[in-house]
């Protein structure tokens, strides 16, 4: 690992004299830079997509109230029986962490803003409220409604905040999809660099043979090619990343309805993340070329 980093650092510094043994230019080298650029451009979007869906999932997840309310509007003489029936149903419903009847004082304080402190709320036929806190799995609202209709017809389940739950799940799924795309783009880049490197090595077979004959070790020969390719992969990826970030920065930003689409970018320190792409591209180029070079060298004695 240490040797790897030393090589990697040496590679970025470059060693002009020993790199001259590889003939200049060549179609495959430019192809490598070009592929790295395009892959980096795509990777920026995959990364932005992943981060944006992650933000959405987090925000929706936080906003998602875990609590629902059951409202019982029954004549005063049936109130206690219906309340008990509801509590029994809740006790045997899975996905509920906690359920509690609100006390008369609590209900009064909820109504205070509307009626003022002096209205004797206790005398009014106001519904009994039950606070329901669900656990991580959540409960099945339709099933609960059916059971309530059967056991306590006066009870109404109000779960208005629960509808977002599937959306949160979808947003997390999108985040994973974004990360998967990022990994796949990296794999495609590695495959392209390997192909380009193999082609370049074959085209330079004579050069490699001469170097081997005058006493070059495998690491020297592989290193000269690896530096060429990694440098191309880094530079290409830099250009692609730069363009990708520019496009994102220029996206019009609006608040409200189209928020998810227009927030497909980076926020604050997130702008540092895409700078990793050229580094990763260089690392991928390094590993891919080195493996291709050593594989070819093994065929030469």
């Amino acid at each position: 690992m240490k040797a790897f980093w030393e090589n990697f650092v040496g590679l970025l510094r470059g060693d002009a004299s020993s790199d001259r043994v590889v003939p200049p230019s060549g179609f495959t080298f430019n192809l490598t830079a070009f592929s790295a650029g395009i892959m980096a451009f795509l990777a920026v979007f995959a990364m932005a997509f992943s981060l944006a869906s992650g933000r959405l999932a987090d925000r929706w997840g936080n906003e998602l109230a875990r609590s629902s309310t059951i409202r019982i509007s029954a004549p005063a003489d049936q109130m206690a029986a219906q309340t008990k029936a509801v509590m029994d149903v809740l006790a045997t419903t899975s996905g509920i962490a906690f359920a509690r009847e609100l006390t008369a004082e609590e209900q009064q304080s909820l109504l205070e803003p509307f009626f003022g402190p002096d209205v004797p709320v206790g005398d009014l036929p106001i519904p009994q409220l039950i606070d329901v806190i669900e656990d991580d799995t959540g409960f099945d609202a339709t099933g609960l409604r059916q059971r309530l209709a059967a056991e306590a017809p006066a009870a109404v389940l109000d779960d208005h905040t629960r509808w977002r739950r599937p959306l949160v799940r979808a947003a997390s799924r999108l985040r994973s999809l974004g990360m998967l795309s990022f990994v796949l783009i990296g794999a495609a880049l590695a495959a392209m660099v390997t192909l380009a490197a193999t082609a370049a090595l074959s085209a330079n077979f004579q050069v490699i043979k001469v170097l081997r004959l005058v006493g070059a070790r495998d690491v020297f020969i592989a290193g000269a090619f690896v530096r060429r390719f990694s440098l191309r992969a880094v530079m290409g990826a830099f250009a692609g990343t730069f363009v990708g970030m520019g496009v994102l920065a220029l996206m019009p930003s609006t608040q409200g309805a189209g928020e998810f689409l227009t927030n497909l970018g980076f926020v604050g320190a997130e702008w540092l993340w895409p700078l990793l792409i050229p580094v990763l591209s260089g690392a991928v180029g390094y590993v891919a070329t080195r493996m291709a070079a050593l594989r070819m060298l093994r065929r030469l004695h």
């Binding site: 004299s17 020993s18 043994v21 070059a216 070790r217 004695h301």
Partner: protein, 225 residues
């Protein structure tokens, strides 16, 4: 320096060389002769580890080439100067850069005196061609550039495979005198050639043994020359 013991080699068909034994003593001068296709180049390749004997042992500087790993073979080649039959240059580099290639790959380049390099290039008579591309050189110039490259690391042993192939007699004489000069300075020399006139010309100038490959065997020749 180089020692072969009951060496045989085959490219997969029948044996090309059988039961070959030889010791190249330090400071000796040998010619290796035989008709074209006899196995002279193959013999040279066995000596610098491009081929490994199918039977017997080849020892270079006391170490069996069969037991060397790839890095060891590379290091060994830095201590043997080889003039290859087909020269093998990098055409995108100049003659001077090609000559210094063995230094560059061994990372000894930085300790090499540039003045010595100029002298070396002048010694082989390529002072005016130093910045040319190898592709622009004549056959004789290529052979001399190859010789300069072979000796740039000051190796103890110089192997030259048909160094006078395809070049005129006068140029052959020049190349031969360079090899003899190297031998006088203490280098061990092995020259493969099918040119018997060259050997005859050498015999008056240097104490040389002549070996011949015939019927897959290595024989001592020379008396009849």
């Amino acid at each position: 320096m180089i020692e072969l013991e009951n060496v045989a080699y085959s490219y997969g068909g029948g044996e090309l060389l059988s039961n070959v034994s030889l010791k190249l003593a330090a400071g000796s001068f040998h010619f290796l002769t035989g008709p074209s296709g006899a196995g002279k180049t193959t013999f040279m390749k066995l000596c610098y580890g491009e081929l490994v004997a199918t039977a017997g042992n080849v020892r270079v500087f006391g170490k069996d080439t069969r037991e060397m790993d790839r890095d060891h073979v590379a290091d060994m080649r830095q201590n043997i100067g080889v003039v290859h039959q087909d020269c093998q240059f990098l055409d995108h580099l100049s003659v001077t850069e090609n000559v210094t290639l063995p230094l560059l790959v061994s990372e000894k380049g930085s300790t090499y005196n540039p003045q010595d390099l100029v002298s070396l290039i002048n010694w082989v008579g390529l002072g005016k061609r130093a910045n040319a591309s190898p592709a622009e050189l004549s056959g004789g110039e290529r052979q001399r550039a190859a010789l300069a490259r072979a000796v740039v690391t000051s190796p103890e042993i110089v192997l030259a495979d048909e160094p006078t192939g395809n070049i005129d007699w006068e140029m052959s004489q020049r190349l031969l005198s360079l090899l003899i000069e190297l031998n006088k300075s203490g280098k061990t020399i092995l020259v493969a050639t099918h040119d018997l006139n060259l050997i005859r010309a050498a015999k008056s100038q240097v104490q040389a043994r002549v070996l011949r490959i015939a019927n897959r065997r290595l024989q001592l020749a020379g008396a009849e020359l």
